[in-house]
């Protein structure tokens, strides 16, 4: 018996939520970043699940692009983290609060 698509979607939703909570509760910029990756992956799972449900590959292509974008984002994001770390000797996002009132 084939797994119902909804199962995948539920897993995806859980993963996404975990990622979200991770972004919110963690303070290490790197871990926050990983949580974001988790969210992205969860979304990819949703895309592919729907693609399978609809019986066509457009969703997969979209997931593919999302991976490419994620790759680019990781590269730039990590570079930013490195740059900030050089300047402030910290990867704690709570230390970076110049942009307030």
């Amino acid at each position: 018996m084939r797994t119902p698509i909804a199962f995948f979607l539920v897993v995806s939703a859980l993963l996404f939520t975990i990622g979200t909570v991770g972004v919110l509760v963690r303070r290490n910029a790197l871990v926050i970043f990983m949580s974001i990756e988790l969210q992205l992956n969860a979304v990819n799972l949703t895309l592919i699940a729907f693609s399978r449900q609809l019986g066509e590959v457009n969703g997969q292509v979209l997931a593919f692009f999302s991976m490419v974008v994620a790759a680019a984002e990781v590269v730039v994001g990590l570079a930013i983290i490195v740059a900030i770390f050089r300047r402030r000797v910290s990867a704690n996002v709570d230390d970076i609060n110049l942009l307030r009132w």
């Binding site: 979200t20 972004v23 919110l24 509760v25 303070r27 996002v93 709570d94 970076i96 609060n97 110049l98 942009l99 307030r100 009132w101």
Partner: protein
């Protein structure tokens, strides 16, 4: 030749532009060039005059349009010159006297660091003055009017390193501008009611105007004249204007610019006549000014200030003439005054030149022996001013008084006689203290060079022989020439008991009496005038300060005005107007102060808000399906 009338103002204007732009290279020939151009202007004017004399008296008004200047809708103010007897008399006076004074200035200003600039301004002045008298509409007249005011400002403040000169220039410009602005409003009113600013149409429509409107226009225009011609109450700038170079005083503040007001009243006489009160106001302002300024002149120790108050007084005479309807006589006195007053000023300049600027009559004396030509010139001018028979001033002043008498205004006539008496006193005093008696200080005066003496001599001849041009109010050449413009001189209307000869005798007697009195005080040696000065110190001070009119303005207008301005700037503008705006701003800042607490700067707080929104959206979605 009439078509070339534009050359008359254009030549001096060209000179002014050239000298302003290329003052340095033209420095050596600046004086010559400027004089030459004004001379050429004079020649052109003479040629136009000859043309004009060649046609019938009724055809002597020609309008020469040069180009469209401002024209919007029904409002048209072209640059259009008017050639008629009145404008030609004025143009000849301006260019003639102007030329002589230019020549005089060549030596007088020799060695000044801004020699070229001086002649540029002088040329500019002549151009503006010619625009004023040749204009054929009120707006162009106003152009000349303001133009001469500007040149007056520039020339009074010519030695701007001296604070007094700079202040005097500014004062002259601002005080006259008060009158000018009133005049501008008069022009608007004229346009608004007659639909045009051209002389022919405005004055042609004057008869049909409501009396109140005509009065308003006339008085507004007269306000301009009061400012420019330094009549009460806007006369305060003229005595101060003596800070300028003396030839400038001769040209602008005696012969030409200050007479523009008289010209305006004569030119616009149709409007003044359409009003019941305007002419009366003109006459009264004129006579009051004449007496007031004459008295003030007695109290002056500065020779030039004597002449300045004298000018104000004589201008009052001219307004008196215009006010009683004797326009041609007013213009004749204007011309006559241009000659003898310019002569007096040039003589005074000659004195200054010789004494290195000492002009206080109490420190001078006995100059006649060192400077015979100057003394003779001053004497001739003074006698003409006092109205001694057969000199030009006699005829013109006599005609004014006669006109007042014949108009039935005996009060004006008697006051005029008083003014004439005062005139004789102050000018005799000035002459005696300067040229007669013993020198009162260590000066080594010398006679002036030829370029200064010759113009003085020419003007002197004019002052002596000028009477030939207008010996009688009815038959004088000038008066008859002006007739078509200002109305034919009325046939002898013997309104009073005295004949014309009788009037002349009385006027002459008054003049001689004044001279005799002044001689008794200052020349005979029998009275110690310096003791008198000390004894009547209060009265003398009042006279010398012009009855404190200027001081009153300072206390009543300038000081409160400054206070009001600084109140506006420091309290009203910053506290009230800006304060209201800032108050609103502060209220927002306080509001924002609450709101900005949300901006913690912590990314995770923002992300939480994000999540809040996302969760809310999802819930809404679920609830709705």
């Amino acid at each position: 030749m009439t078509d070339l009338i534009w050359l008359v103002p254009a030549l001096p204007l060209a000179g002014a532009v050239a000298l302003l732009l290329a003052g340095k290279p033209l420095r050596r020939i600046a004086g010559g060039l400027a004089s030459l151009l004004v001379g050429a202007s004079f020649v052109v004017s003479v040629l136009v005059l000859i043309d004009l004399l060649g046609v019938g008296a009724e055809e002597r008004t020609v309008a020469v349009k040069i180009f469209d200047w401002i024209s919007v809708g029904s409002f048209e103010a072209p640059v259009e010159l008017r050639v008629d007897p009145l404008s030609m008399v004025m143009a000849l006076t301006v260019t003639g006297v102007g030329f002589l004074i230019h020549v005089y200035s060549i030596d007088y200003m020799h060695g000044d660091p801004r020699y070229s600039r001086y002649f540029a301004y002088l040329n500019l002045f002549v151009a503006a003055m010619l625009t004023l008298v040749l204009a054929n509409n009120l707006v162009l007249l106003y152009v000349g009017w303001e133009g001469v005011g500007l040149c007056s400002y520039l020339l009074i403040a010519f030695w701007f390193e001296r604070r007094a000169a700079a202040d005097a220039g500014k004062k002259a410009f601002i005080v006259t501008r008060i009158g000018d602005t009133a005049m501008l409003i008069g022009i608007f009113l004229a346009f608004s009611t007659t639909g045009s600013v051209r002389f022919d149409e405005v004055f042609g429509a004057a008869g049909g105007l409501a009396s109140g409107t005509a009065t308003a226009i006339a008085l507004l225009l007269f306000a301009g004249a009061v400012g420019k011609s330094a009549q009460l109450p806007l006369h305060v700038w003229l005595p101060d204007a003596m800070e300028g170079p003396t030839p400038v005083s001769a040209l602008i503040h005696a012969a030409t610019m200050v007479t523009a007001g008289v010209y305006l009243v004569v030119r616009a006489h149709a409007i003044f006549e359409a009003s019941e009160v305007a002419l009366g106001v003109v006459a009264v302002v004129g006579i009051v000014t004449a007496v007031y300024a004459g008295l003030s002149a007695i109290g002056q120790d500065d020779l030039k200030r004597v002449l300045a108050y004298s000018t104000i007084s004589q201008l009052g005479y001219m307004f008196l003439a215009a006010g009683v309807g004797a326009y041609a006589v007013a213009i004749f006195h204007l011309v006559a005054h241009a000659f003898f007053k310019a002569l007096l000023f040039l003589s005074a300049g000659s004195v200054m030149h010789a004494t290195d600027g000492v002009i206080d009559v109490t420190r001078l004396g006995g100059l006649r022996r060192r400077m015979p030509v100057t003394a003779a010139s001053f004497a001739v001018g003074g006698l003409a001013l006092a109205g001694i028979p057969l000199l030009v001033g006699f005829f013109s002043k006599d005609q004014i008084l006669a006109a007042a008498y014949e108009a039935g205004r005996t009060g004006l006539w008697i006051t005029g006689l008083v003014a004439a008496f005062i005139t004789a006193i102050y000018i005799t005093r000035a002459y005696l203290l300067t040229f007669e008696g013993e020198p009162r200080s260590e000066l080594h005066p010398h006679e002036s060079p030829a370029l200064m003496s010759v113009p003085m001599a020419v003007l002197g001849v004019g002052a002596v022989l000028g009477g030939l041009l207008g010996a009688s109010a009815q038959t004088g050449r000038v008066q008859r020439f002006l007739g078509p413009v200002v109305g034919e001189p009325e046939a002898h209307a013997a309104a009073g008991a005295l004949s014309e000869v009788g009037l002349s005798v009385i006027a002459s007697a008054v003049a001689v009496g004044g001279i005799a009195l002044a001689w008794a005080l200052y020349g005979s040696g029998r009275v110690d005038w310096q003791a008198l000065r000390a004894r009547f110190g209060g009265a003398r001070r009042a006279l010398s300060r012009g009855f404190y009119v200027d001081d009153a303005y300072g206390a009543l207008l300038v000081t409160p005005g400054k206070a009001a301005a600084s109140f506006s700037a420091s309290v009203l503008d910053t506290r009230v107007v800006d304060g209201a705006v800032n108050g609103i701003g502060r209220a927002f800042v306080r509001l924002a102060g609450v709101g900005r607490r949300l901006q913690t700067g912590l990314v995770r707080t923002y992300a939480l808000a994000f999540l809040l929104g996302a969760a809310a959206l999802v819930l809404v979605l679920v609830v709705r399906t």
